[in-house]
Symmetry: C4
């Protein structure tokens, strides 16, 4: 069945599905969870888990990036966030965690205005250098992110400080940014000249992802990030349900592999992957790895202290995200590997992935992308 829909006589659209719309189903074989491998390799880097920490100040600090790296994941530090704007960001993080809302509404103009003010402080290049050094000295894989808008200005600092993986991450990043007034980043040339692998996104959809793959990126971020915190649909009307987005980008990966004669670009789900079930389903849709925000913001060590927000919540003229409560569940290690005392999919994320793969009979992530899937709207009160 094609998924094209006629909205009216003048417009066609594509039916799209969210992760909540889908579920995986077992088939004829089951497997011992101990025999399942969840390892993942991107470029020269072999990781024990397919989990990236999202470059959001509520999730990744130098310390949590190091810790995640030691636990087998890849922490990505936001190089335009509080850690590169403030010598002592802890005070700012404490202040944000302490903000109390007077209204019942999730969206509170006073908190938004406060975030806008705090993120108005200038980025200090020397802090970029020192934050990266701190991670590097810990001996884990080093990854930091810039937005496309600021990549020109700061990338040399980032490279000189010594990142292993360079992440260019914006709400929407295209391979062809057009501007009459500024010289936009030429992604293809930039990536070609860079010595380190680049992960770039967000993108959603076959065509935009295919164009990003052609820039030479090692990985593409699927989705627009910050699923739990974002209000992009309400403010901009932009939304790309993740199950369909991942599946479309995975198809681009397959076709680009053919087109390029063998270059495998990694597909990383980024946005709205909030529980172990979401991780499972993202990989089932074809992702190679997942970038986690809210799911890691629930760690005891998370800088957000039970709160979670993205940098788009602090945009100076068009804020489109909120500081949302996610709570604190367990230390990061327990969050990833259990044992869990939570039944909501917020703990033992990797154990749950192993068991989901075992229950459906798969032993590697690549094979698991073929798992059977059903569409069935999520019925909240049945859980």
């Amino acid at each position: 069945m094609t998924n094209e829909i006629e909205i009216g006589r003048g417009k066609r659209a594509t039916q799209a599905y969210s992760l909540d719309d889908v579920a995986i189903v077992p088939n004829r074989r089951t497997r011992d969870p101990k025999d399942v491998s969840v390892s993942w390799q991107i470029d020269a880097f072999q990781l024990e888990t397919p989990i990236l920490g999202a470059p959001m100040d509520s999730v990744m600090s130098p310390a949590t990036a190091i810790q995640l790296g030691r636990l087998g994941g890849l922490g990505v530090l936001n190089l335009e966030g509080l850690w590169t704007r403030y010598e002592n960001p802890q005070a700012i993080l404490d202040e944000i965690a302490g903000l109390r809302s007077e209204s019942e509404r999730r969206s509170d103009p006073k908190i938004t205005a406060k975030l806008q003010k705090l993120y108005g402080a200038p980025i200090q290049p020397e802090l970029i250098t020192s934050r990266i050094s701190e991670i590097r000295e810990a001996g884990v894989v080093v990854a930091g992110s810039l937005t496309p808008q600021r990549t020109q200005e700061h990338y040399q600092t980032v490279i000189d400080a010594g990142v292993d993986i360079f992440v260019i991450r914006g709400t929407t990043v295209s391979a062809e940014h057009v501007s009459k007034t500024t010289e936009p980043l030429n992604l293809k040339q930039f990536i070609y000249e860079l010595d380190v692998p680049v992960i770039v996104g967000g993108a959603a959809g076959y065509t935009p992802a295919m164009h990003l793959m052609r820039t030479g990126a090692a990985g593409v971020l699927v989705g627009f990030g910050g699923g739990a915190t974002s209000t992009t649909r309400r403010t901009f009307g932009i939304h790309s349900p993740m199950a369909s987005a991942i599946s479309d980008v995975a198809a681009a990966r397959r076709d680009y592999l053919e087109e390029s004669g063998g270059r495998y670009v990694h597909v990383i789900a980024d946005g709205g992957v909030g529980s172990s079930g979401d991780i499972v389903k993202s990989l089932a849709m074809g992702a190679d790895a997942v970038m986690l925000g809210a799911a890691l913001a629930r760690a005891e060590e998370a800088p957000g202290q039970g709160w979670h927000w993205g940098i788009e919540a602090a945009h100076e003229t068009s804020p489109r995200g909120d500081r949302v409560p996610v709570g604190t569940v367990a230390p990061l290690e327990e969050l990833l590997f259990g044992p869990s005392h939570e039944t909501t999919g917020s703990s033992n994320l990797v154990g749950a992935l192993r068991r989901a793969m075992a229950t459906t009979g798969y032993s590697t992530l690549k094979e698991f992308q073929r798992v059977d899937v059903v569409v069935s709207p999520y019925e909240a009160d049945r859980f």
Copy 2:
């Protein structure tokens, strides 16, 4: 895929989509928001934004119509509302804003009865003249609205007072109104004889819109107005989801352009366009402009003082709308152009439109009507 559905063996229907059902998606190109034009021209009038103020007493007064005009939009004054029934409508507006409901229900018979009484005062033609003059003297484009039922009686007063654009607006307006007892308005003849351009509606659907276009109208209002306040579906069973309605009328515009040998009739979404995301999606569905009610009723200067209602809420025998709370967000200028401290799409409406167009790679409103769209039901708790 066709959108025809079999309800049962004896009835077929069309699947229709609301603005909440759809979202736009980026593609291969992004653009600098500064390079985006949101200007709009109807007849001889060049407007900086594609925004009309709905002729509702909670939204448009002579003062806010003037202010909206100065900010690049087009304010439309309801010439059958409080401003032409009362010498001093401010007292009435204060009274309506002060009505307190005893029940938890949104629909309160006492408030309805009060509105019915207040709107029972007779229309005073000299007030039509003076209200229009007030706007005219401010030097902005002047637009006023009558219902089809009262157009015969008052249009000469309106024309003599000097409107630039004449709006005929009812819940449903057809090109062929049939009556055995009264001589209905012959829209085609009326528009032909009038010297000023006419915007007429609401209409929804290809055929009724096509017939309205053939009357010579400069623009057609799509939808039945007052989305936030209307109870037409519950009371009359009538509903026309906006995404499909706009798309159908946009198709009529295209076909009429061909049929008429080049007359471009503007499609204006009117009803249920309550946030910046809704504006974006209305234009993406094919609208040339949007008529805003609730979205502008949230301005500090709005006559409704945080409340919003349409004239159908005061219908003497069949009221079908409520006075609803919309709150007060910011001064009108900030509501339109930011900077915003709101993350719900209620502020920086024009800025959000610019960014949505830039993110999806378009630089003019006309091109933006081709943007890619997905169908994906709105998941409230994901925002």
Copy 3:
């Protein structure tokens, strides 16, 4: 598009639509509400409105049946309810209205047990006679209902007392009831021998309705009654969404008209028609008339005193309905003809129907069955 669905490899099903799923849409023509006729004729009886009062004790007493008849509708008295079990049912009605629930739940076992006890009193044939006489003496069309189970036992009493229209109404009534232990009612023979027209139901679906039409019935009740009070779906798994049910039965009417060489059997929507919008949509789906429960239970004169229940709520072993609050809105006359001060579709039911027909350009109920319809799930918070 066909509406057949594959549930799984072993089962097919039909997609069915509720009244909430659909809405009517205007087309190219509008009409003056004053030119609209809502009159309806069944057998020799010409009625000014297509409204029947449901034989439920919360809705129809002899007094309200008379009043409805005088207002142009057709009241149907339940001849197995409180009025034929008690000399003075008012005391019982007061008792039911006074029952207070200790739980928050709509379903309260204590109230159910009480209803079971109150309805356990025996039917007194002489009360059947006196109640019918009371209505007859008022000079309105007289209609009374029995269940199929008790028709054999009481019909002679009913006929002798002088009903104009005989209603056989059960949750589900088929033309072919099979029993090994009792001799079931032979509907075809029964109707053939009776001198008065018979309305029979509930039925839903083309085939069961077609078989009921072949029994010689003058009208078929579509649906299983008591939409607002029934829990048949939860208890028995039985449910037949009304939009599809009416449309299917309307198709049976059309085909039976052909098969019978011209016998027009009336299709009467019975169940879940709770607002003026629901009335409009039922007729749009092909119904000739509607049988109202909750919608009339909101009258000041209603015996239920703001509460509403069906006899299935008192079934001795398998109760499947609740006493539900519906509130009191206005006197019956105002409920039917306005003027209304309600915006929820609970008042001026006939006025709303007239306006819906006028807005969509129709002047008779029969033509209105052809009105255009869209499928669009009801979005509660948009109203």
Copy 4:
């Protein structure tokens, strides 16, 4: 219409339906409930009702298994639960019933941790023997369950103690469990060598069920159990809507009947069958019998004392279920056979099934599997 869906360019899925999505509809014939048979035979055992008690500690104790057997059903005792871990499980059951949650959330880590601790006690083989003996001495059919993981270790004890029906039940059980470290249970050989009939599951889907049927099982459990308590979808992303799952497995039964030259494997719905309506719909989808958890946990005699949980809620590292409140409704006999004073489908389960079958014209369970079905999403507030 095929039920294949394109999620995106890289993934296809099957549309699946839950029991809430479907309803049964009457057809041309109705029947006397007294003429309906709900008896069911599996292997040599003739049961008066098609109801199995789920092997969950909140539902089945030796006492309630005996009672259910005497009432015509089949109680299955969990042989890895509290009754085989504790000499006196009543104290533990009281402790679990007495746990109070401090949070509003259904998922409470403290309660989960407590369950994990309580279920950490070792299984005592002599208790397996004594519990089975207790049931056997009562003279009812004896059934006990083990998980596949522990079947090897304990089955001989179970057989020696004398079960009539052996149940192998896990969240997901496949005919082909693969492990590199342990020798998995060879189901086919195990069942072949066993003298008693085996019921095995859960499984969902045509292929996995077909493979289970080929092992020689007498019955297959459809679903993953514990619908009311499970959080498998959120934690593992695994979900298999029951209407589709049952229908798929019923198709496997049909095809296996052909393939095997006449072996009829029973299909038993297990999971999310919580009301009489759900029982009706499960059988309508093709099930031969239902295994009830929450529905029987509401009995006054139920060990859970108004609470309900599955053993997966106590998994030591990946708990994926909650202790949920289900309340206490009536004694078990009344729960099964009425008379009911409940209108929610929680009482007179067998009476409701009889009436549903009678209303749709069927006299045996096997015929009833052919009943007409509609798809119509459950509208909570209409009930």
